[in-house]
């Protein structure tokens, strides 16, 4: 009988271990829009880059997969006499497919030394919009030294210090291509990151197509050129609006809004009016059409090596060495629901992770040699957290050890998700640890008691 009991206890023990293995990692990680949490199904995305330059101009070519092109950022939908805004932004993917696809590239010349080691992580300060603990006002990416204290988003450094930092080049150049708000006018949004994520001097390529005083759009499509005065909501939601038709309201190609044009439910107008950006903000152009095809975006951006705007842009030079980091938005996402890269070195005619080749002529002839980069969903890892006791690698950051020395994209995306559920996972882990100990101890006691009975029999 004791034999049966021993085998039974062992079977119970082993069987429970199997259940533990099968069920581990479940029960906590789930989307929670109320806390700004939405985990993408796919955690990493392949991304390809090529770079080239001639005497005057820099070219970057980016390629990445996207199931369908996000070419409408937000729209106005006509419903029972009113125009309703769709695509205001939600955690994760917009259910109606709103929000444009994007590719963004941060660029530095060494003036922000932490950037070469930690990439975009240094820009994720406390309180950023979209975090679970976002600030009560909109806070965008910023560099650490623009605040007096780490983790204090509202404790801005003195104006004099900020101006001196800027003069010293303490900002990141941000090339920000937008599938809906800049691509139709052949531009990327030229921005920078310093005290926040701001546009360069000049005007943006987009403005709002809504007159709040009149409660109606400002412009509409010109039926003579577009073939219609509005898009259709069902087509928009189904992704049937393509780059082969007129889908953007471009200044000079539209008509003033006519409230008596016979609007019907389901008519849709883009919420943005596009016009090429001016000044430093309009420095970056799109070479060609900026097209999506066969499940991939293939975008080439171009900018003068020297824009003449050193306070906004990182000036590029022949044989220069720089650092870049990339991000994409796809699947109708905005804010922090993007995929990012670790920092990558860029060399103009110099060996680097991304080597820009020098060429003669106006446009580069791209070969098939790409720099392959893995982008990943970064979760909610902030720079203050990385420098705190919550991060075992904080001491290595203090020593200047680069992130790539210890971490991979595949690893970081898991860590990023864990941080989003830190308050739930830690106690669950502790409960699991002690339950495991209880199981081992109970099995030990049971085994020895039963075996002791066998000796007594």
């Amino acid at each position: 009988m004791q034999q049966v009991k021993i085998i039974g206890a062992a079977a119970l023990f082993a069987g429970t271990l199997i259940v533990v293995w099968v069920t581990h990692g479940t029960g906590i990680v789930r989307n929670d829009p109320a806390r700004n949490i939405s985990i993408p199904d796919q955690l990493t995305v392949p991304f390809q880059v090529q770079a080239a330059y001639n005497d005057t101009t820099m070219f970057f070519r980016y390629r990445w997969p996207a199931a369908r092109p996000g070419i409408l950022h937000d729209v106005l939908r006509y419903e029972d006499g009113k125009w309703i805004t769709e695509g205001a932004g939600v955690p994760g993917s917009d259910p109606n497919g709103m929000h444009e696809d994007r590719v963004a590239m941060m660029l530095d010349d060494g003036s922000v030394p932490e950037f070469s080691r930690y990439g975009g992580y240094i820009t994720i300060g406390a309180g950023l919009e979209g975090l679970t603990d976002e600030a009560p006002e909109v806070v965008t990416k910023y560099l650490p030294a623009t605040r007096n204290q780490l983790g204090q988003w509202d404790d801005m450094a003195p104006d004099g210090t900020l101006a001196t930092l800027r003069d010293a080049g303490y900002f990141l150049d941000l090339w920000h291509w937008r599938g809906g708000r800049s691509n139709p006018v052949g531009q990327a949004d030229d921005q920078n990151i310093s005290t926040g994520r701001d546009g360069d001097a000049g005007s943006a390529s987009y403005s709002t197509n809504f007159d709040n005083a009149l409660g109606q759009p400002r412009v509409m499509f010109d039926p003579a050129t577009a073939g219609y005065k509005a898009l259709n909501w069902d087509d928009v939601v189904a992704g049937r609006v393509s780059q082969d038709q007129v889908y953007a309201l471009i200044d000079g190609q539209v008509l003033p809004y006519d409230p008596d044009a016979g609007w019907k439910n389901g008519d849709v107008l883009p919420r943005r009016i596009l016009k090429p950006g001016t000044g430093s903000r309009g420095d970056i152009g799109v070479l060609g059409q900026g097209r999506w095809a066969d499940g991939f975006w293939d975008i080439t951006l171009t900018r003068a090596l020297d824009t003449g705007n050193p306070a906004d842009d990182k000036i590029l030079r022949d044989l220069g060495s720089y650092t870049t980091a990339f991000a994409i938005h796809r699947n109708a996402t905005g804010l922090r629901w993007h995929y990012v890269s670790l920092p990558q070195t860029l060399g103009l005619g110099r060996e680097a992770e991304i080597t820009a080749t020098r060429f003669a002529g106006d446009t580069p002839t791209w070969g098939n040699t790409w720099t392959e980069i893995t982008l990943y969903y970064p979760g909610q890892v902030t720079w203050p957290m990385l420098n705190s006791t919550s991060h075992a690698g904080a001491e290595y950051i203090a020593k200047g050890v680069p992130v790539k020395y210890r971490h991979s994209p595949e690893q970081l995306t898991q860590y990023g998700i864990e941080v989003e559920f830190k308050s739930e996972i830690r106690p669950q882990w502790l409960k699991t640890l002690f339950a495991g100990l209880a199981l081992i101890a109970a099995f030990g006691v049971s085994l020895n008691l039963v075996l002791a009975q066998r000796k007594e029999v």
Partner: protein, 184 residues
């Protein structure tokens, strides 16, 4: 502290691996080699538990509690190390309490099963420790293929925790009920 833990941890790992090997050999044969292994096993198990407790103590002092309990790899390493120590303590206690009779009947195969689980636990613990130290192996890939992404914390849902506690209670009840009948 980390460097000392790295040095110290090799002793229990070696002792536990050798202990497991000794158990496997003893289970396989009652001959002179098996008998010799069993004699050595008692020493290895005791030394392994003592060395393991020492290395475990060093390990939990490498980082503050806030740090190790916030880091997925730290959590996983600590959990597996604790379970490994508990497991080989169970083996040592069982071997000493039961004496040579442990190798009779079904209990000999139970010892083999426990040794196998122990080897797996220590192997995972060492793999995670290597990752924390910056030395990566393909074992993590094997675990990934088996269903565990080692860069995420190992935890189970409440339902499984209740199952674990329930099974623990059943195992204890099983033993005590039987003991009562024997005594009666």
């Amino acid at each position: 502290m980390g460097a000392y833990h790295t040095v110290a941890i090799h002793f229990p790992i070696a002792l536990w691996m050798v202990s497991s090997l000794a158990i496997f050999i003893r289970v396989a044969t009652d001959g002179p080699i098996g008998q010799a292994m069993d004699r050595a096993l008692k020493v290895f198990l005791v030394l392994g538990v003592l060395a393991g407790a020492g290395a475990w103590s060093l390990g939990i002092n490498i980082w503050p509690w806030e740090t190790i309990s916030s880091t997925p790899m730290g959590r996983n390493h600590m959990m597996m190390a604790t379970w490994s120590l508990a497991f080989f303590t169970l083996l040592a206690v069982t071997r000493f309490l039961q004496g040579d009779r442990i190798w009779q009947g079904a209990s000999r195969w139970i010892m083999a099963l426990l040794a196998l689980i122990g080897v797996i636990l220590v192997g995972i613990t060492g793999t995670l420790g290597g990752h924390l130290h910056g030395s990566y192996t393909e074992v993590a890939e094997w675990l990934r293929l088996a269903g565990w992404e080692v860069y995420s914390t190992f935890y189970v849902p409440n339902g499984t925790i209740w199952l674990m506690l329930g099974v623990a209670a059943v195992m204890l009840g099983l033993a005590f009920v039987k003991l009562g009948k024997s005594e009666g």
